[in-house]
Amino acid sequence: MHEFVEAFRFIAHNGAIAGEPGLPTLTHLSLETLRVSAIGLAISIVIALPLGVWLGHLHRGSFAAINLGNIGRALPSLAVLAIGDAFFGLGLTVVEVALVVLAVPPIITNAYLGVDGVDRDLVDAARGMGMSGLQIVRRVELPLSVSPLFAGVRTAAVFVVSTTTIASLAGFSGTLGDVIANETSYHFSGVLGAAICVAALALAVDGLLTLLQRALTPRGLLLADRDHAAAPPAEAALAAPTS
């Protein structure tokens, strides 16, 4: 318990340690962690979301969309960073590539399964009302699959924050992982304090995305949800038995 008290003292001092001047503040490291993560997540969303939604709209490419998810998970972040380091040297670009490699699969898989799973009768009704393909995507399929779409993005966000800190182990500095990777300077209390910050950061990012998800969910669905159990939060769709 003593360690936890020391860790919170470290957080209260914003990462300052007696006798070690010039260390970056925890605020600074947290913001940098968020910046690196946000870039990776944004690129992944731009690549993966339209692709997953488009494949789901066409009901095509299920094999690729679903198995991509498992391949992405099979790539250990540290291994991707290590191999990227060996080939190109470790910089922001390699880290962002590693983040995108890890974040794209869950977004594609969930977007595909979400849009693919929208009730066909509803899509037929929309078509009968004279909606074009694009209108169906925008006004029927996307609103109805907000929950799985966000499940994918939230999973990806968690992976990304996690991997951004792991990048410090591979020698990419500037993020909260620096403290965790440097027990010599920060002692265990500092490492623990930074770990608490990282965990809080990940939970906060997940919480923010959940709020955004609620705001974007059509009101009718929210009301309908109240009658059922809560929608499974993350990667629900991956239960789909495929091989």
Partner: protein, 250 residues
């Protein structure tokens, strides 16, 4: 020309000193120059370095997934019977799943210590959400008519569970196991930060030595390969255990 020679001499001196000090004893020119991939280093170090790391990695993952599976199966069976348990279990396992691995390992070191127990507790906690959800989804997906038929045949609740519900839930359960196994194999590379085991160990060594490219590529590649092989094995297991799913698809 005269200006070039000191630079040249310096280059020769630099090349003569091993770049990778730890491997000095068996340094080939490839290792000394830290070329992209040195097969001789791999064959020399398979026995002393790579195989122990790989074996440790497999053990870490196997133990974590086994324990995680037993816990999740228990939780899912109880939640299947008593529906109100689903929500709290989901909330707890989701929070555990959301905490970044590096942070969770360190958070566990404070109460448990930097040992195999912290490593396994963290790894197990990452399997729970995946396995619990998939087992429960599988059990719930059994059609009511099938259960009615089982009851009509005189099966007790326990018999129906063992002989009807669990077999029908297998595809979903194995889908969950695939995700869990692959996730844990990936996460086990970070275990080295608190406990000296797994493929993270050679990756860490290599990062400290230059970085030494061959070791980075081999150790990272082994981790990826292990995950893919484990995934393929589980697909095979599913095919053997659930022949009816293929018959239906055909």
């Amino acid at each position: 020309m005269g200006l070039d020679s000191p630079a040249l001499a310096e280059h020769v001196v630099a090349a003569a000193e091993p770049v990778i000090p730890n491997y000095g004893a068996q340094s080939s020119s490839c290792v000394v120059h830290n070329h992209l991939f040195c097969t001789d280093w791999v064959s020399h170090n398979w026995g002393p370095v790579l195989w122990p790391a790989l074996r440790g990695h497999i053990l870490l993952a196997l133990v974590a997934v086994s324990i995680g599976f037993v816990i999740s199966l228990g939780l899912a069976l109880v939640a299947h019977r008593y529906g109100w348990l689903e929500r709290p279990t989901m909330i707890v396992t989701t929070i555990l799943y959301t905490i970044p691995s590096l942070a969770l390992f360190e958070l566990l070191v404070a109460p448990v210590g930097p040992n195999v127990y912290s490593a396994e507790i963290a790894l197990v906690s990452y399997t729970l959400l995946i396995l619990f959800r998939n087992i429960l989804t599988g059990l719930r997906s059994v059609p009511d008519e099938v259960l009615d038929a089982a009851e009509g045949m005189g099966m007790s609740r326990r018999q129906a569970l063992l002989r009807v519900e669990l077999p029908l839930a297998l595809p979903s359960i194995i889908a969950g196991l695939r995700i869990a196994v692959v996730t844990i194999i990936a996460l086990a590379t970070i275990v080295y930060t608190i406990y000296n085991e797994g493929l993270g160990v050679p990756i860490h060594t290599a990062l400290g030595e230059g970085p030494f490219k061959t070791e980075l590529i081999v150790a990272g590649g082994l981790a990826i390969l292990l995950a893919l092989v484990a995934d393929a094995l589980l697909v095979l297991v599913q095919r053997l255990l659930t022949p009816w799913t293929r018959a239906r698809a055909a």
